[in-house]
């Protein structure tokens, strides 16, 4: 098991490395002078010169590459043109906003998907089953930015049940970094974007769990569990669902991959101050260091979540952990 973990972690590091390299070359392909990637014309000449030296902008490509990594490992991603502060600070401040929204959404999707899929498979063919399929597929087909707009329009503007976008009411004072998340105001602002997100991504775990359960319900060990005289609920959850949820876990990596991209849309609609919105703003205002930093972090989030999903699967499926005899 430990060997498996170590292999996986090394593998993740390799993927990250290649991803960062990809970033490096990708952003250099943007039209314009490569120095414009780092140096804002607004800065003073001394500051420009310092940055030039730090990032080796007058040196050959491979040196720039090396310095790029060196700076990255130090945590230095350059200075944002628009914010005039180091990119890393902006990221530090906002990454949690994105992660909380996305994380809670994914968690809700998984829970509802697993529980719901089990019930749907049990009640296969019923109105609830067909209704849930159509309902979840309908939401999956609806672009999340559109459903977000409508939800916000109806529940925010028209009914005024919830605030209209942003993470806090303007003028909100938090007593500390963590305090800003643990209060009712935050929750009120969280509900609409969280609902939009959950409704959109619900279809995959729900339908995969349903299909997986349908297969598992025909297996010999489920039959044996019934023959043992176990209560049907116990059979369904302890044996059937416990096995059926393995494919759903492999789905997590995929979902996170899409959700990270989807955050871009969601945060734009709801004016949610996270890395997604940051990326959109940065690209629109040609704030290259910010755009690059945001892209790096979004990708790193996906890659590390993939690792977590792998580890979770390994934990849930003893056949991987203990290997074959």
């Amino acid at each position: 098991m430990r060997k498996f973990l170590i292999t996986r972690i090394l593998y993740m590091i390799l993927t990250l490395f290649i991803f960062v390299t990809l970033c490096f070359f990708l952003f250099r392909m943007l039209p314009g002078d490569p120095t414009a990637l780092v140096i804002s014309p607004i800065l003073m000449p001394e500051a420009q010169a310092a940055l030039k030296a730090q990032f080796g902008l007058d040196k050959p490509l491979h040196i720039q590459y090396y310095l790029y990594f060196k700076n990255l490992l130090k945590g230095d991603l350059g200075i944002s043109f628009i914010y005039r502060t180091p990119v890393i600070n902006i990221i530090k401040g906002k990454i949690l906003n994105t992660l909380i929204l996305m994380g809670l959404g994914m968690l809700l999707c998984l829970i509802i998907g697993i529980l719901g899929g089990t019930v749907m498979a049990w009640l296969r063919g019923s109105k609830l089953d067909t209704g849930a399929i159509i309902f979840s597929l309908a939401f999956r087909s609806t672009p999340e930015f559109w459903s977000g707009m409508l939800i916000l329009l109806v529940f925010g503007y028209k009914l005024e049940w919830f605030p209209v976008g942003r993470m806090h009411t303007p003028g909100f004072e938090a007593f500390g970094f963590w305090d800003q998340y643990f209060n009712v105001d935050f929750l009120k602002h969280l509900i609409l974007p969280l609902t939009t997100l959950t409704l959109y991504y619900l279809a995959s775990p729900l339908l995969v769990m349903r299909n997986s359960m349908l297969e598992v319900l025909h297996t010999d060990f489920v039959e044996l569990a019934i023959a043992k005289g176990l209560h049907p609920l116990r059979v369904m959850y302890q044996h059937a669902a416990r096995n059926a949820l393995l494919p759903v876990v492999t789905l997590i990596s995929l979902m996170v991959g899409y959700a990270v991209g989807g955050q871009v849309l969601l945060e734009t609609i709801f004016s949610w101050p996270g890395m997604g919105k940051e990326m959109v703003d940065a690209v629109n205002s040609n704030d290259y260091p910010m755009a690059q930093g945001a892209f790096l972090f979004l990708g790193a989030t996906v890659i590390s979540m993939n690792l977590l999903a792998d580890v979770l699967y390994c934990y849930l499926d003893p056949r991987i952990q203990y290997g074959e005899e």
Binding site: E223, A225, K228, E325
Partner: protein
């Protein structure tokens, strides 16, 4: 002094499908005594597994007991509520399944799966249940250190033993062994059969042994029921039925199995396929493949006739049994029938 353990009367089981009901088991009756084994033998799809599963009421969702009685120690199982059945399951009637390969839940430890069965029916602590599991492992000859292993860490034969251990956990009066050795190689088969025999004698359990392999029945059972297309063709003491069969289908079956002793003879198979159970034949179900069938056989369903004490056979031409026994050893008879069917 054996009490009557199980009595099945006129059992009819259907499988509901889009095209109509499949008459998987059509009006069968048999009974069992405490401590004695009954074997069910027949081709795949003849209904033996269906009948056995009905006793535990673990038919698939589209399976339905349409008629008849299943009396377990005098109580009819057919109209029982799910809650009552659950109490009966495993404690009184347990099952050893066909493919142990897949019968164990891959994500739970083996010991826990047996403990689960025990604790569902007995109000004892997990520790005590685990002690019982160790005891069971000892009985079937498994290393007690492996209680906390996962199923995939065991070999096929060992998994089968785990299944047997689990079935014995609550000392049931009846064990249904569905093809207990089919998936195993011959050496392991032999060992498992010996073990089953020994256990059964020690613990005084009754077993229903379902198989398509006559030799297994010969080794383990005292009575046998030969099934075909949902009906019992012949039923009686094992030695009697195999030495003096009174049914053409039994004759055909016996022919198809090689014997180590005796002369080397050609294996004769029964040509053709079992009938479609959606629209089963009106008469004897075997008439199409039977070399001795007559016009009457096609239209009239044979009743179960008592041949000797506790030996029954369902055949309209039973008076020709001597002739049939003699002719059935000739391969031409069967081949001719197969050809005639085709043309």
């Amino acid at each position: 002094m054996s009490a009557e353990l199980l009595r099945v009367e006129d059992l009819v089981i259907h499988y509901r499908t889009r095209e109509g009901p499949i008459r998987a088991v059509d009006d069968i009756s048999f009974c069992m005594e405490d401590g004695k084994n009954l074997g069910f033998v027949g081709e795949s799809g003849c209904g033996k597994t269906t009948a056995a599963k009905a006793i535990m009421k673990i038919l698939p969702p589209n399976g339905e007991i349409v008629g008849g009685q299943i009396l377990f120690r005098g109580r009819d199982i057919v109209p029982m509520e799910p809650k009552e059945i659950r109490q009966l399951r495993w404690k009184e009637i347990a099952m050893i399944t066909q493919s142990a390969m897949n019968a164990l839940d891959p994500v739970h430890r083996v010991g826990n799966q047996i403990v689960e069965a025990i604790k569902t029916h007995l109000p004892i602590s997990t520790r005590e249940a685990m002690m019982r599991v160790r005891e069971l492992f000892g009985i079937v000859g498994l290393d007690t250190h492996r209680i906390n292993d996962y199923p995939h860490q065991f070999s096929g034969g060992m998994k089968q033993r785990v299944i047997i251990a689990m079935a014995l956990a609550l000392n049931p009066s009846l064990i249904i062994a569905d093809e207990p050795t089919t998936a195993l190689d011959v050496l392991v088969q032999d060992r498992i059969l010996m073990q089953l025999n020994e256990l059964q004698q020690r613990l005084r359990m009754a077993m229903i042994v379902i198989t398509h392999d006559i030799s297994v029945i010969a080794e383990t059972c005292s009575r046998v029921a030969v099934m075909y297309a949902g009906k019992i063709m012949e039923y009686g003491d094992v030695k009697e039925v195999f030495k003096n069969p009174f049914n053409p289908y039994t004759l055909g079956l016996l022919n198809a199995f090689p014997s180590v002793v005796g002369e080397k003879r050609e294996l004769i198979s029964i040509g053709g396929f079992p009938p479609n159970l959606l629209h089963p034949p009106v008469g004897c179900r075997f008439w199409e493949r039977c070399p001795f069938s007559t016009e009457r056989c096609e239209h009239e369903s044979p009743p179960m006739l008592k041949v000797v004490a506790s030996h029954f056979s369902a055949c309209l031409e039973i008076h020709r049994i001597e002739e049939m026994r003699f002719l059935s050893t000739r391969p031409e008879i069967w081949r001719e029938k197969a050809h005639r069917r085709v043309s």
